[in-house]
Symmetry: C2
Subunit: 259 residues, 2 copies
């Protein structure tokens, strides 16, 4: 299978860099085709801006949504955006690998999402009507592909537990899992999370890569997080709230995961 | 009072640009001292990287945490970082104003956080012991200052309601409110959120700026979100989980807000 790894860490000799190298080696040995977008090494431009689009004339008013659509449709978007979109279309699975910085992905990766996820490519896709609010949340350009996060965190696992001070890891990752990956159609696998990265010695590293190897071997068989598809009947449209009979006593992020 | 506005939108003639201008004018007319960090206009460098620190020699291994500490303590961090830290120390209140892109802040603002929030400045502050896990979540360098988000979203308000498909806005903003603002000590005010930005005509804009003006007038009197202070007894240390008798039947983000 074809696997894209999007990697975001500034130091190749870091734990994150080592995990990226491990994944490339492990997946290659398993016979897969691997491509890596190493965002720091590529000096990826983070901010979405007018200069991403050759059709936006100097001094013209820039609309991040409409100019993104025109840039995607007319081929006037920056070539680094086009190249990443092509990698996403090529891949059967995408692994996003990064340290959790301030409870979310690093800015360089957030900027990859903002620039690569063009209107017409990752959003603004499909019919908008009273029964179908665009091809998103379970449908979309990337439907049929799998995505998984491989994340490192400095804090301890209990700090990210249901009553831990940082908030539960599943909830911290929900905006990425659901809002960035499920949105354009990915099947989203449970994340692989490494805690307390400052204490990873050789023994711990061997355990971590052993566990990660098992997750990679199961990339095609692991059950995705059962997010509810937007257009399959669970939501009122256009309010996009869960119908009263669906998970009637639940609210918040967890309500969008089927039992 | 002294107010810093950190603004992140690429087009000055956008709704966000207009709201920023409105805030500057309104607060200046009220007699406050205003400074603005207009990140796109400043061409703010988003990615935290080795080249932010003059002491990191070419080819040396870069540690985002330890090099950040050394850069902050020895003055070897990039001068744009030092300038923003000084603005934060100067301000009595900080307003962060941005569009919600992919359910979080724009990359350029995330990169502002990652670079300006040095170890020793915004984290890694204070004693670490069995009863006190650093000065954070209610204590820290920015204690006594107020912070507020002014956010725009393209989607409809019900999409962000307790059972809306995007997840509740309060939960989407929790990693920013609690993890980025409360963490280094800010008192965090309830956010000002504008929904359905594509439909803002003159009438709606007048209503929005009217409401926003009231929020600005009440900047010093509005009650902050009552997050639980880490070191005041509600949490077990070092697990940093809520003690069993605190909000005993609650978990998730909301458990960290006192009743």
């Amino acid at each position: 299978m074809k696997i894209l790894i999007v990697h975001a860490h500034p130091e190749t000799r870091s734990l994150n860099g080592s995990l990226k190298d491990f994944m490339v080696e492990h997946l290659t040995r398993s016979g897969h085709d691997i491509r890596v977008s190493d965002l720091y090494a590529m000096q990826w431009k983070a901010p979405l801006a007018a200069d991403d689009f050759s059709h936006v004339e100097s001094g013209a008013r820039f609309d991040p949504v409409l100019d993104s659509l025109r840039g995607f449709e007319d081929g006037t978007q920056h070539e680094d955006i086009t190249a990443e979109q092509a990698k996403l279309l090529w891949a059967d699975a995408v692994i996003f690998q990064f340290p959790l910085w301030w409870y979310s992905m690093p800015a360089i990766l957030k900027g990859w999402v903002e620039r690569v996820y063009a209107y017409g490519f990752a959003y603004g896709v499909g019919e908008h009507s009273d029964t179908h609010w665009g091809d998103r949340f379970g449908q979309g350009t990337l439907a049929g592909k799998r995505a998984m996060l491989v994340v490192t965190a400095g804090g301890w696992a209990p700090h990210y537990s249901p009553r831990g001070i940082n908030g539960p890891m599943d909830d911290l990752l929900f905006p990425i899992h659901h809002g960035i990956l499920y949105y354009p159609g990915f099947d989203v696998l449970p994340p692989f999370v490494v805690y307390r990265t400052g204490k990873v010695d050789e023994t711990a590293y061997a355990r971590i890569t052993g566990d990660l190897g098992h997750r990679l071997d199961a990339l095609w068989t692991t059950a995705p997080i059962p997010f509810r598809a937007q257009n399959a009947g669970d939501y009122e449209i256009p309010a996009l709230t869960l119908r009263p009979e669906i998970a009637p006593h639940r609210s918040g992020f967890a309500a969008h995961v089927a039992d």
